[in-house]
């Protein structure tokens, strides 16, 4: 179950056998969480961070009046709220998009791990920096990309991130409704539907009830002007 997380770590940095065992040792028994469940509530005191091992989760913020912004989508292998280790209370919620398998790693275990294994501390620091980089790309999309470019960029990014953790496929079940895509991309669901139709008409992508089918990855990248440097796939050694 932890393989997706180890794959994410090892894709960018080598891990010694002892480091890998140290990471495995802090992971408590996994638990299943149904889709659309809030796992971390805004403002709640945190004593553990959520490691996503299967499925998709998201971070989100709500405004009065029912408006919602999904600020990040998480794939298997992500430490969804590792920033909660230092922040202790988050200014956003974390919820499951699909049925998920997670492990709630006690902050005390993380503290002991990074004290005993300083290099692992640097790798997890890298991980939160990578999250910040993805958030900057999200801002770029929301601020500067057109609707069709925004959608294309999102699917290109998810494809790469799934590839990193061994889930590479042109087809995957993201499980998001068009309304959730709209909340991710600053659009309305009807606008998302129209934009998905344009991508389908151009032979680039099909999306039906959460099922993603990438028909032309290169074409999709071209539409989004997608440049994966912000994902730091060729990271320097730490």
């Amino acid at each position: 179950m932890i393989e997706a997380h180890l794959a994410k770590l090892k894709f960018r940095h080598s891990l010694t056998g002892a480091e890998e065992e140290a990471v495995r040792a802090i992971i408590p028994p996994v638990r299943r969480v149904a889709r659309a469940m809030t796992v971390v509530h805004e403002g709640a005191r945190l004593e553990a961070s959520t490691l996503l091992l299967e499925g998709f989760m998201c971070r989100l913020k709500d405004l009065a009046g029912g408006k919602r912004q999904i600020t990040q989508i998480h794939v298997a292998g992500d430490f969804v709220d590792l920033h909660g280790f230092t922040l202790k209370r988050l200014e956003h919620d974390v919820m499951t998009v699909t049925d998920c398998t997670i492990a709630l790693v006690p902050h005390e275990h993380i503290r002991q791990l990074i004290e005993q294994w300083p290099r692992l501390g640097r790798l997890y620091w890298f991980s939160t920096n990578l999250d910040a980089s993805m958030n900057r790309e999200w801002e770029l999309s929301l601020g500067q990309r057109s609707a069709v470019e925004r959608l294309a960029a999102l699917f290109c990014e998810l494809h790469v991130r799934l590839q990193v953790v061994g889930g590479a496929s042109e087809s995957f079940n993201l499980g998001m409704s068009q309304s959730q895509l709209a909340e991710s991309l600053g659009m309305t669901a009807v606008h998302v539907n129209r934009t998905l139709r344009l991508l389908r008409d151009r032979g680039l992508l099909r999306y039906r009830r959460g099922e993603v089918e990438i028909l032309d990855l290169d074409g999709l990248k071209a539409v989004a002007d997608f440049d994966d440097r912000y994902l730091y796939l060729n990271a320097d050694p730490l």
């Binding site: 057109s146 068009q178 309304s179 009807v190 606008h191 139709r197």
Partner: protein
């Protein structure tokens, strides 16, 4: 909660809403349609186009028509004196 479908007809063609949208009983479907139209128009205007010839048909899952909202209802267009 109720699920309504918002089928779009505009300059890019017809987009059927197969998935539908969950709206609470307090939500006004016409207001939802108007927000959607404004979202689409706001992008089109960045390409220098204001096309108000489109409309959204609202229907229930069983196909019952809830009404039609035209693009021209979603904005107030002032063209000067």
């Amino acid at each position: 909660m109720r699920r309504l479908h918002f089928d779009l007809h505009n300059g890019t063609g017809f987009t059927a809403d197969e998935e539908g949208r969950e709206l609470s009983n307090d939500d006004d479907p016409r207001a939802f349609a108007i927000r959607s139209i404004r979202s689409i128009l706001s992008e089109e205007i960045m390409n220098g186009v204001i096309d108000l010839t489109g409309w959204i048909d609202i229907r229930s899952e069983s196909g019952a028509q809830f009404g039609r909202v035209s693009f021209s209802e979603a904005v107030c267009l002032r063209l000067g004196p």
